[in-house]
Amino acid sequence: MRTRPGRRALAAGVAALVGAVLAGPAAAFTVFACEPEWAALTRILLPTARVHVATHAGQDPHHIEARPSLIAQLRSADLAVCTGASLESGWLPTLQERAGNRRAQDVFFAADHVELIDPQPGAIGTPWTGDVHAEGNPHLHVDPRKLLEVANALAGRLGQEVPGERAGIELRRAAFEARWRRQVSEWERRATPLRGLPVAAQHTTFGYLWHWLGMTQVADLEPRPGMPPTPGHLQRLLEGLRAAPPVAVVIAGFQDPRSGRWLGSQLRGRSGANVPLLVLPPTVSDDAAEPQLVAWVDGLLRELLDAAARRP
């Protein structure tokens, strides 16, 4: 008998919770973006969408934890937009499993809509080979031409998901494509001095940037993909790079700068100056839209052009 009031209170609580949940705001189309660049494209194409961004530029997108907050975000999503090519394979499946959201099962993977560089067909990651992405390099958003291809494919998917917005999405997509193409030509014109220049970098984070600009990554600070630099590996790189030092050592903001700084400080160019360490943002901020995407690529080019101009 003593438990009766307690049970009634519990029942009332559960009823209130269920009521709150059912009455909750479900109006806006909600997108779960695994990385900020896909959030930015979503905002360009469908400005009315509510966008959750799972990661930010200060995180290594390979190593995200399936945090409770991310499960809640995926639970409320109408569509998940991610990179694919196994970039999120360490955390997205757990989020899908925990969120129990059937709309989050058919993820829009950007990598399914562009041709990836450095595919390794049949490659199987073993404990000694590091993080092997057999599909190819997943960091495809750093090539603005690929970003546009993804935007076009994403527009198609968003149009299917929100039929009422299809015309508007198509208009915004076409306008974005026109502006972006002009922007890309402008960038390519500015970047001509970079063509053929060698860089050293950590991981393949900026692989698409080198590919786009015609630069060559002559050294990877990681001994194996995804493994942090080791002293022995850096020493070997140093020996190999002495004869023809790169214009810069490039790392992303989430990577530890010590190895890159050391390597740059050990290398001397013809003028005797050290090779600079460039810490570049691997993506845009998580509230970004088109202006921030433009500013980001602008910034990458500026840093590289500065380094090339000061070439040691």
């Binding site: 945090r67 360490g90 993080d131």
Partner: protein, 385 residues
């Protein structure tokens, strides 16, 4: 004896999973993996799962993937050495829905219960060589069982999950005092969590277990303590050890807090965990004051991308059934570990453990040093929080 019989549900599920994996699906969507867990132990711990010397820990072969568009499935076979014998068994064989509406999810087959923080994790993914006393005493280390699960994830701005499970319970309480109706054990779990900001995140879980399976009381005095396992030899070939201490009602709470500067957990992370459990209704002779309790506090610090150090303190206070009465027993344990993880697939861990204040537990290890190596091939699921 009954533990030797292969129950039809599990057999059917195994066949379904294996059959579909082999025939229906191209291997592209299915992922296969293997994990090897080797550890050298200088001295076996009381209630420990690892024998002295170089032993095979919880190693497994697993396959997981979609079954059509509506389900996914996982099959895991595990092996481990125990008391000098190689034990093998089907650890997981389940089918789960992926397309239920309203955030609902159902699972059927053999799987790990989602009670507590650690139980749904594979032991080789743990931060320590041995699980806390709480799991070793109350869940046989890692409780997997045959049953059903229904989970609901709420569409709230923070994480909220409410789940219920019904199990046969034969793999938790192996020998019962009398005949037991199915389901033998039911659980209700509530989990919630969120981010405080970019650097801080937390999760809180509350679990309740109801059991109809009243454990048969051991009559042989030497069967506890040193031996440390409540199962009889007939069942000893199956890699499931059952709970050493059980009761009608179990309450568990688990709290986790993680901090990573700027959210970049790859470089640095501090993880703090707390788990506590209380079991009441020990058996028909127990009074309200007879209960089992256990707590564990865990601190793990990733101070470099490949390096982690951890500290754990555990307490266990139980009432050991002896015929119609009980003996108070207790045990404290501390563990200190250092782990090197050169990649996702490998880890090398050195751990020093000490057991103190042992009452009624024979052969507590004042100091045990363990060296563990875990090697994973292929896919092995994604990591949970």
């Amino acid at each position: 004896m009954s533990a030797r019989r292969f129950d039809p549900l599990t057999l059917a599920l195994c066949l379904a999973v294996v059959g579909s994996a082999a025939a229906a699906q191209p291997a592209g969507n299915w992922q296969f993996g293997a994990v090897l867990d080797l550890a050298h132990t200088t001295r076996a711990l009381a209630l420990g799962s690892r024998d002295q010397g170089l032993q095979l820990g919880h190693s497994d072969l697993s396959a997981r993937g979609p079954l059509g568009t509506l389900f996914k499935a996982q099959l895991t076979a595990s092996v481990a050495t125990h008391d000098g014998k190689l034990e093998k068994g089907v650890e997981e064989a389940w089918l789960e829905t992926t397309r239920l509406p309203a955030g609902l999810q159902a699972r059927a087959g053999r799987f790990a219960s989602q009670v507590g923080y650690l139980n749904s994790q594979h032991p080789h993914a743990d931060d320590f060589v041995e699980r806390p006393l709480l799991y070793r005493g109350f869940f046989g280390g890692h409780w997997t069982d045959d049953g059903l699960r229904l989970n609901w994830t709420a569409p709230t701005p923070f994480y909220l999950m409410i789940g219920a499970e019904a199990f046969r319970g034969k793999r938790l309480v192996r020998e019962t005092a009398g005949a037991v109706r199915n389901p033998g054990i039911a659980t209700v779990v509530v989990k919630t969590g969120a981010d405080l900001d970019r650097s801080h995140s937390w999760q809180l879980g509350l679990s309740h277990i109801r059991s109809r399976r009243e454990a048969a009381v051991e009559v042989h005095e030497e069967a506890e303590g040193e031996e440390g396992h409540g199962h009889d030899d007939e069942a000893g070939h199956d890699h499931a050890h059952g709970a050493q201490f059980s009761g009608r009602k179990t309450w568990m709470i688990d709290a986790t807090w993680k901090w990573a500067p700027g959210g970049n957990n790859r470089d640095q992370q501090l993880r703090v965990g707390l788990e506590a459990a209380r079991i009441t209704g020990l058996n028909r002779f127990a009074t309200a004051r007879d209960r089992h309790e256990s707590h564990a506090i865990t601190l793990v610090w990733r101070f470099r991308p490949q390096w982690e150090a951890g500290l754990r303190a555990d307490w266990l206070r139980v009432r050991m059934p002896h015929g119609e009465h009980f003996h108070s027993a207790r045990l404290r344990e501390h563990a200190l570990m250092l782990a090197w993880k050169p990649s996702h697939q490998q880890s090398l861990r050195l751990q020093v453990s000490g057991q103190r204040d042992a009452v009624e537990f024979e052969n507590p290890a004042r100091r045990a040093v363990q060296l563990q190596y875990v090697l994973a091939f292929g896919a092995h699921g994604a990591h949970a929080y």
